[in-house]
């Protein structure tokens, strides 16, 4: 795939986020889709390609589109990063010209959610030991990582403190009040060593993106956000089969490919999003994407280099820890990257030309990287 061959011309979140008990999953998808269409100045009938985690037929029919190309890639929270990549391939190949990607999740209120039925490997080899949600198993590698890196619980808490500073500048963030390391450490224990602020918020939210070829992108109301590079990696289905608890191969694989396609070096990156369902993920992200060497992430964060005013602003919406997290957060990381590249983010970083958006799916199961730019 070619650098900058497609662009995002429409991007929007659902009209309301957080607690939205009066909207279903389907309703959140459609609301975000209509907002993204309005943002791009398009009608549903202009869409001929559609990607989503749910059922493409149910959602397309509901929104009123008849796609000639669809993608139901479902690898967890980074599915949308993969959708962007697959949309780029489809547009380049001529399979479609205008792709809509939607997300909606009633992650807090649970309205219109399909029941989860335990089956397969996880049900046999992990669930029996008391796994009760992502907080009880996605977090398991952290202790091993911390031992290998000589890290303390204070280091984990520091991520929350720094990201809360970003959240304070985002009116749509669920947690905006400042927090100290001590307050993080003295909060309710969820899954030791993780306290409540080290775990993502739970919210109802939707988001949508619209992609077209770079050629057509110039004719839209917003300045195009070009897809500079993408990469993906699908690996193991279970946390217990993750090969190395101190480094995530998916992050390494996906980002390597995206950086190569984009033709950039780390010094070219102005803004970074690392999917942070839990406070340990930004450490893996910084090291596995190659922004720092293994072992350096804890000092990088403690020295405020990802904080407001730092050299590598990271998770500038407050992240999944403070902004919004519906269950599959990748769509909201992408929305923030688009806002930063457009120059319209609430906590705008001055002069962003290149944003790297790194997603994770499942429990270190899959990864997707999307690199965006406003430079044609």
């Amino acid at each position: 795939m070619k650098r900058n061959s497609v662009a995002i011309v429409g991007a929007a979140e659902s009209t309301r986020m957080g607690k939205v008990p009066d909207m279903s999953v389907l309703g959140l998808h459609a609301d975000a889709a209509l907002n993204a269409l309005a943002d791009a100045g398009l009608k549903p009938s202009d869409i001929d390609g559609y990607a989503t985690v749910g059922s493409a037929t149910e959602l397309a029919g509901y929104i009123g589109i008849k796609p000639r190309w669809s993608d139901n890639t479902s690898v967890g929270g980074c599915s949308f990063m993969l959708h962007v990549r697959h949309a780029q391939a489809a547009i380049e190949a001529g399979a479609c010209s205008t792709v809509l990607i939607t997300h909606g999740e009633s992650g807090r209120s649970g309205v219109g959610v399909a029941p989860w039925t335990p089956s397969g490997l996880q049900a046999q080899f992990e669930t029996p030991y008391g796994v009760v949600g992502a907080f009880s198993n996605f977090t398991i590698p952290a202790l091993r990582y911390m031992k290998a890196r000589g890290m303390t619980e204070e280091d984990l808490a520091q991520v929350v403190v720094v990201q809360r500073e970003w959240a304070a500048m985002n009116p749509r963030a669920m947690h905006r009040e400042p927090i100290t390391v001590d307050e993080v450490l003295n909060s309710e224990l969820i899954a030791w060593p993780f306290t409540k602020p080290m775990c993502c918020v739970r919210s109802d939210a939707g988001g949508a993106l619209i992609l077209v070829s770079a050629e057509r992108a110039r004719d839209f109301p917003n300045k195009p956000v070009y897809v500079m590079g993408t990469g993906e990696s699908s690996l193991n289905p279970m946390i217990s089969t993750m090969e190395d608890f101190t480094s995530f191969e998916g992050f390494r694989n996906a980002s390597r490919e995206a950086f190569a396609q984009a033709g950039i070096r780390h010094a070219d990156v102005d803004h970074l999003m690392v999917y942070d369902a839990f406070a340990h993920l930004p450490f893996y992200g910084l090291e596995d994407l190659g922004f720092v060497k293994p072992g350096e992430a804890k000092d990088f964060i403690r020295e405020r280099r990802t904080a407001p005013g730092g050299e590598l602003p990271m998770n500038t919406n407050g992240g999944g820890l403070s902004y919004q997290h519906s269950g599959m957060y990748g769509m909201f990381a992408l929305q923030e990257s688009v806002r930063q590249v457009r120059g319209v983010a609430p906590a705008q970083v001055p002069g962003v030309k290149v944003s790297v958006c790194q997603g994770v799916g499942g429990m270190f199961a899959a990864a997707g990287t999307v690199i965006l730019t406003n430079q044609a």
Partner: protein
């Protein structure tokens, strides 16, 4: 509330039968000698179908864990560790650590462990691990 238990499939039945018989059964590739888990009728390393079942030693070390403070109702009301142990033969598996307090002080990474089996139903016995006493 009865504990949420697995339903074996044809590909995993030998493993659960092993647990019932007090034996931790792993698989090994006859071509590349890789030992692996969870069960499947081919080698995840090289793709060979020439694999065999063997009884593991039951020795392991504590690789990583969390202490879950939001217990699932069928697990009781006290916090419990959800752990990943590294078996002496190489593969890792999820389990619970029993026979010791569920505290960071009692649960030290890399501590030696030994498998114990707990019968949960006629069909299912779970492999759990306890600290090796000095």
């Amino acid at each position: 509330m009865p504990r949420q238990l697995p339903k074996p499939t044809p590909e995993t039945l030998h493993y659960w039968e092993g647990c019932r018989a007090g034996e931790l059964r792993l698989q090994r590739c006859r071509d590349c000698a890789k030992a692996y888990f969870p069960p499947r009728p081919f080698c995840p390393g090289c793709g060979s179908r020439a694999v065999e079942v063997f009884a593991a030693s039951g020795q392991a070390s504590l690789h990583s864990y969390v202490i879950n403070y939001r217990p699932r109702p069928d697990m009781g009301s006290e916090p419990y560790a959800i752990a990943v142990v590294e078996l002496a033969e190489g593969p890792r598996m999820m389990t619970n650590i029993v026979g010791c307090p569920q505290t960071p002080e009692a649960l030290q990474l890399d501590m030696p462990l030994q498998v114990v089996f707990r019968k949960e139903s006629e069909a299912i016995t779970l492999p759990l691990f306890e600290p090796v006493r000095a």
